[in-house]
């Protein structure tokens, strides 16, 4: 492949305004917009790994602990997890909504974590396989991640609306904090991952010097 990359030509692209610069030294800033210039996102692999692992850890309480606790005036209190909320929609006949919540709250975080892990491992293995597919997957997870916040907003609204003495009160469960943490951590992870690292292996010098700086 004879693709000329900026790194090969000794140029650095400004992450903010996309101006290309030659002969950039460490700690230089873009002369047009003042953003910090780096050949690759700094410490990309280490930061992304840390965020992904933290997200995996939070994923467990996010799915086990209740996200919402409904206390009716009369009767038993009801604890809802992410999954039981989806099952409730399914059983009550709102299949479309059940599918939307299932996708946003269950599939998207899991898919994101799986893809990020796969991308990180592939970069570390200097894999040259499926580059185009991986580039597309990265673009997909960068866009869909925010939609997982759906359940956080639902719980916020239910808590705000149902504080009716003599009828019912709704309280947020610890699960929602863990779930929100998963969403934030995976979003930060996909932001800190540098997709250019995937393509660096196609160069003769397999991107070693690019990794951290």
């Amino acid at each position: 492949m004879s693709v000329k990359t900026a790194a090969k030509l000794g140029m650095v692209s400004c992450p903010h305004c996309a101006t290309l610069w030659e002969d950039v030294k460490a700690h230089d800033r873009c002369g047009r917009c003042g953003a910090g210039l780096h050949l690759r996102k700094p410490d990309s692999l280490r930061r992304t790994w840390a965020l992904v692992i933290a997200a995996y850890i939070m994923y467990v309480p996010a799915n086990i602990l209740p996200v919402m606790i409904t206390v009716p005036f009369l009767g038993k209190e009801q604890q809802d997890t992410i999954m039981s909320g989806i099952i409730y929609f399914w059983n009550s006949g709102s299949w479309g909504l059940a599918l939307i919540v299932f996708t946003a709250s269950f599939l998207v975080p899991l898919f994101k974590l799986a893809v990020l892990t796969q991308l990180l491992i592939a970069v570390q293995d200097h894999s040259k396989r499926h580059l185009l597919l991986r580039a597309k997957l990265y673009r997909v997870i960068a866009v869909i991640g925010r939609w997982s916040m759906l359940d956080v907003f639902v719980v916020t609204l239910m808590t705000g609306l149902i504080q009716i003495k003599g009828f019912a009160t709704v309280h947020p469960g610890e699960g929602i904090a863990a779930f929100a943490a998963v969403v934030v951590l995976t979003m930060l992870a996909s932001i800190s991952f540098d997709p250019r690292l995937m393509w660096d292996v196609t160069e003769h010098d397999p991107g070693r010097s690019h990794e951290s700086r």
Binding site: M11, G160, M187
Partner: protein
Amino acid sequence: MKDNLNKLTMREVPGLIACEECDAVYRRLALGRSEVAFCRRCGAELERDRRAQRRHVLPLAIAGLCMYLVANVFPILELELRSGLFSQATLIGSVRSLRGEGMLFVALLVLATTILFPLIQLLALIYLLTFPIRFRRFGHPTTFNLSGRLIQVLRPWVMVEVFLLGVIVAFVKLTSMATVLPGIALWAFGALAFLLTAVFSFDPRCLYISRCGYKKQGK
């Protein structure tokens, strides 16, 4: 050799652009109206011509600010029970009850993604589109640069449209319990989500590259 390098100062390379996702370098082409340039190697978007939308951005941003105010002042959902009990929730009120339940982290996250960041986005955008562009007053370059960077950095964290979907889900959840009425703020949020999408078509990069329609920043 190393000493030599240190003496060199960095130089701008005009007329070229590097793909953000795979680092491939291309010659910058003059794009026609609404044309988009993609990277031939990885398929990522290199550049997009936004001259067509440019004129609408400022009025849309101001309209967005008005909708933002309505969306945050009025209740989003209202609840009516047969027993005559009544409840309504504004966004900030909901955030406050989360905070009262000891969910500080979640409350801050909701506050940031639906209240703070959209406001910062809109204000930064209106600032950029008025003083530097309309009135040719650039002020302090740091303010100018920070506003531009803020718009880009905050973009993934503005979640008004996700919140809107959340309202719909909560709405359906509640219909089994009581009579739910959409509040004025719900419509305002819908309009705001729509306006923000239109407004985000503005790329702050335009301010640094002369060819995207605005005149170049004075040196």
